[in-house]
């Protein structure tokens, strides 16, 4: 029985296990974001947080303990200076684990273990992109794609500031989950955090708009040669969507899209002339480019 025992064995001897975990923690402190299996990430996260706690303490015995644990002596000053200042306000929880599917070789559950607030903070980047996507979706619904391309998305930083103060369950410009994530990633970041998030959100919006436009130019030459009867159908090709993928402002769920031909609520007769690709979101929103 293993009731209440919080340690994993990893099919290794105790010395091997400890060395493996020390290696993981050292790599995490060096690169600030590592990819490993989920159980290893969980155990390594626990040890890494204890090392960072030693860094925050800052005295000589803590330094000696950290030096004894980490396998690279040149990383110990980083723990006691950079990481200690970064997490000076934060009470614990210095690491974050993102699940990342399964490894192809042995189907092991993979995970990305990262230090919170690092330069490549995944959650920060994903929240910024989600903010960009949502604002773009709303604008496209109001103005149409051509209007958005002309005007762009103004005042993203103001939206971020407003949503930061707003209560989570209020009705605002962002989804509840996105707002919650926004508040969490900006909590210990301050002013430059808002600027960074705004920049990443705007870059993402530009990327989302650029793709169909670029493809449209490539396909424009080919469109002249196509049959005039099925002219309406060729616009779907502009987006080059993969199965299940949706566009900003699209409303159908992934499962609904994946059902494709077998799914319900088919639109009118024009569907028979449309390009039948399973799972593609043929929303009329993005066809007027």
């Amino acid at each position: 029985m293993k009731h209440g025992i919080a340690f994993r064995k990893f099919s290794r001897t105790s010395s091997h296990r400890m060395l493996m975990l020390r290696n993981l923690v050292t790599s995490l402190i060096q690169h600030e974001q590592i990819k490993t299996t989920l159980p290893k990430a969980r155990d390594a996260a626990r040890l890494a947080e204890k090392i960072i706690t030693l860094g925050k303490k800052g005295d000589i015995p803590a330094f000696r303990k950290a030096t004894g644990f980490l396998l690279d002596r040149s990383l110990v000053p980083k723990v006691f200076t950079d990481l200690a200042t970064r997490y000076s306000e934060r009470p614990g929880g210095y690491t974050r684990i993102h699940k990342f599917g399964n490894r192809p070789g042995d189907n092991a559950p993979h995970a990305i273990l990262e230090l919170v607030d690092n330069p490549r903070d995944l959650r920060f980047a994903m929240t910024a992109r989600a903010v960009g996507w949502e604002l773009l979706g709303r604008k496209v619904e109001q103005q149409g794609v051509k209007g958005v391309v002309a005007s762009g998305i103004p005042e993203v930083d103001e939206v971020v500031e407003r949503e930061r103060e707003r209560a989570v369950d209020e009705r605002g410009q962002l989804r509840t989950v996105t707002r919650k994530n926004l508040q969490k990633v900006l909590r210990y970041r301050g002013g430059e955090g808002v600027a960074e998030l705004t920049k990443q959100a705007e870059d993402h919006v530009d990327t989302l708009l650029a793709r169909p436009l670029a493809l449209k130019e490539i396909i424009a030459a080919k469109q002249e040669q196509k049959d005039k009867r099925v002219k309406g159908a060729t616009t779907f090709e502009n987006l080059r969507l993969t199965a299940g993928q949706t566009v900003p402002g699209g409303l159908r769920s992934t499962l609904h899209l994946a059902q494709g031909e077998l799914g319900k609520d088919r639109p009118g007769r024009w569907y028979f002339f449309g390009r039948k690709k399973l799972g593609v979101d043929n929303s009329p929103l993005w066809n007027q480019l």
């Binding site: 990305i112 980047a125 996507w133 499962l255």
Partner: protein, 124 residues
């Protein structure tokens, strides 16, 4: 059954004794009291698997009667197929399908490539 076993025992005693090590026979002799000790020590040989199988008549062993038909075999494996994944959602950043509670591999790839490109060509 016991009588059959005893008969079998007497019949194959010599072969059983041949299988047993000599030390085994002498030990049992030492345990038995002197007034009960027989000149020829008698030990129960544990019947090995081949000798046990000799007890069963051939028609008593389990065996498939007929080759399982294609139809029956297919019916048995009806629920062994791959199950569809239900935990699919849209990535809130790029709209592509992804596993629920996992990060979007497309977004992660883009971020990774961006980061590597930035490191390869240091900004002036």
């Amino acid at each position: 059954m016991a009588t059959a076993l005893a008969l079998h025992q007497s019949r194959t005693w010599l072969s059983a004794a041949a299988r047993l090590p000599l030390s085994r026979i002498s030990l049992t002799a030492a345990l038995v009291p002197a007034f009960l000790a027989s000149p020829k020590p008698f030990t129960w040989a544990i019947p090995s698997l081949p000798s046990l199988l000799e007890l069963f008549p051939p028609w008593l062993l389990a065996v498939p009667k007929k080759k399982t038909s294609h139809s029956r075999k297919a019916m048995r494996s009806a629920n062994k197929g791959l199950k569809d994944k239900q935990n699919l959602v849209h990535c809130q950043a790029c709209g592509s399908p992804k596993l629920a509670h996992n990060i979007c591999p497309k977004c992660y790839r883009e971020l990774n490539m961006e980061w590597k490109a930035r490191n390869r060509t240091p900004e002036l």
